[in-house]
Symmetry: C2
Subunit: 117 residues, 2 copies
């Protein structure tokens, strides 16, 4: 069985360079941006993102993320997937370990959206 992978990447059209304080955003833009913001609207994901961002080379192994956030391994895996799908992290496997790395500029793009108020 195949399922559609909902791609709501932070780099998608509409989520960049359209400060929402200038003019009303469209329904589609709002839908896309909301999807991106949902990825950031969870305490576990914010902590994971923060830990990865503060790590060496802004990269961390899953094995190093489970204990700090105090959640089960499947749950951490789930959150990392959400952050990756949203375009904030990339995944690379080295050996049996999976490393998640911050996507350069991804958070900066979010930052740009809210400037000017």
């Amino acid at each position: 069985m195949t399922t559609m992978l909902e791609v709501t990447d932070v780099t998608a059209a509409g989520t960049c360079c359209t400060p929402l304080v200038r003019e009303p955003i469209s329904a589609d833009e709002a839908e896309q941006l909301a999807q991106t913001m949902k990825a950031l609207a969870d305490p576990a994901r914010l902590r994971l993102l923060s830990i990865v961002a503060a790590s060496e080379n802004t990269e961390a192994c899953v094995c190093d993320l489970i204990e700090p956030v105090g959640l089960s391994q499947p749950t951490v895996s789930h959150h990392l997937k959400v952050l990756t799908t949203a375009g904030f992290l990339t995944r690379s496997k080295r050996g049996t370990w999976a490393y998640f790395k911050l996507v350069p500029g991804a958070l900066d793009r979010i930052s740009q959206l809210f400037v000017g108020s």
Copy 2:
């Protein structure tokens, strides 16, 4: 009957001046920030915020917000309350009309949190 009003204002401690890319944020900080982000993680609320921000004096009447977002009046009222509780809007009543105004700097504070990546 009285109910506790959950105050998760954007100006609360921890949500300001603590870039989450520098060092891992605490569980409490993550919880507070997530609560704030949840307010922005909805297409209807993003549109409402956008419309208000783009209006004269960054202020708009509820009656002018219902039609653009295409939702029922109670739903719009609900979303405006969420945005107000989160510290993004303020409410002032003039006559029978309720005006919601953008809180200066509220979105900028969010913007600051994600700079540096």
